[in-house]
Symmetry: C2
Subunit: 188 residues, 2 copies
């Protein structure tokens, strides 16, 4: 299993938005969902994506998307605009769930069973890091992790880095999936 | 310099579309533009992205986006909906150009100065390939390269592969950029 946790500073916590960009950059959440879970014509069943939404009006909310159970989806933004609106207004979509958990409680729960890795430019080079079998990666949005969340995350995990180039959050996830794909290929 | 050429089978060749998805999957073109050219808070000035649009009503059209000259952009789909509408209706945007060149003529011109790599699952593993200094990568959209275009491209270039996992076109570009970033780091 692979898990990604996106800390979304401003992601809106109800369904009152015109478009995902104006919903506190839920467009970044959409991009990260696609890069976590989607292959060409397929879904990664071994991936769970989490976003902790910290925007108004009632933060925090924990959005969880499980590849194994995700159905009736495409990659485009219109599809995800509808799904996120739906879920944020209290309705259901297979594989997508929402609860009132905050970042710290989520991380504490994950740390009990999995190795936590916090993505930071100054961290240990991923090429020199042996990633455990069930990793959980923590990423910030376009503004980065808030200092307090970073300090908290590092109580449970280690900093890793993809190098000095500041990639988009969704690109980081694509690269992490690729690096893990290569690792699982060589261990087979 | 790095260049990416996306062969878009159905990308619409005028501005008559409601949204990018319905414009012959111009949403895939948008995703590939972002993964080619955008870093967190920055643009890759050493990248040129090309899409050859082969959809109705007047194919082919060659869309070219040069990182060095691109201005006034964000990553979100609304921004690119506007830019593509604008350019496809004959107006300008800095760094974005459009002309009547088709795939074969574009490839022939590129092959004069650059090494061409055609991305295919069955190609040579990129980890075992030394990529030249000014590579041009050719990719298909969600349906893949048409057979005729592939045969033509292979007259000028070699097949390379990212492995057996069928990544989305935009993910392939993100991974290629990452692999090239690593290579340029080790040669410095």
């Amino acid at each position: 299993m692979r898990e990604f946790i996106l800390y979304s500073r401003l992601g809106r916590t109800n369904s009152n938005f015109e478009n995902l960009h104006d919903g506190g950059r839920l467009d970044i959440v959409h991009e990260c969902i696609i890069s976590s879970l989607f292959l060409s014509h397929g879904i990664r069943k071994n991936v769970v994506f989490h976003a902790v939404l910290n925007g108004p009006p009632s933060p925090p909310l924990h959005l969880e998307i499980e590849g194994e159970y995700l159905r009736d989806v495409r990659t485009d933004i219109h599809t995800w605009h509808k799904i996120l609106k739906r879920v944020l207004s209290g309705r259901n979509h297979p594989g997508v769930s929402l609860c009132k958990t905050g970042f710290e409680a989520l991380l504490r729960a994950k740390a009990e069973k999995s190795e936590i890795y916090v993505l930071e430019e100054g961290g240990k080079d991923i090429a020199e890091t042996e990633i455990s079998a069930n990793p959980v990666f923590v990423l910030g949005d376009h503004v980065g992790l808030p200092r307090k969340a970073e300090i908290f995350a590092l109580r449970y995990g280690m900093k890793i880095s993809l190098g000095r180039i500041p990639y988009l959050a969704a690109s980081c996830i694509t690269i992490l999936n690729y690096v893990l794909d290569l690792q699982s290929k060589t261990t087979k």
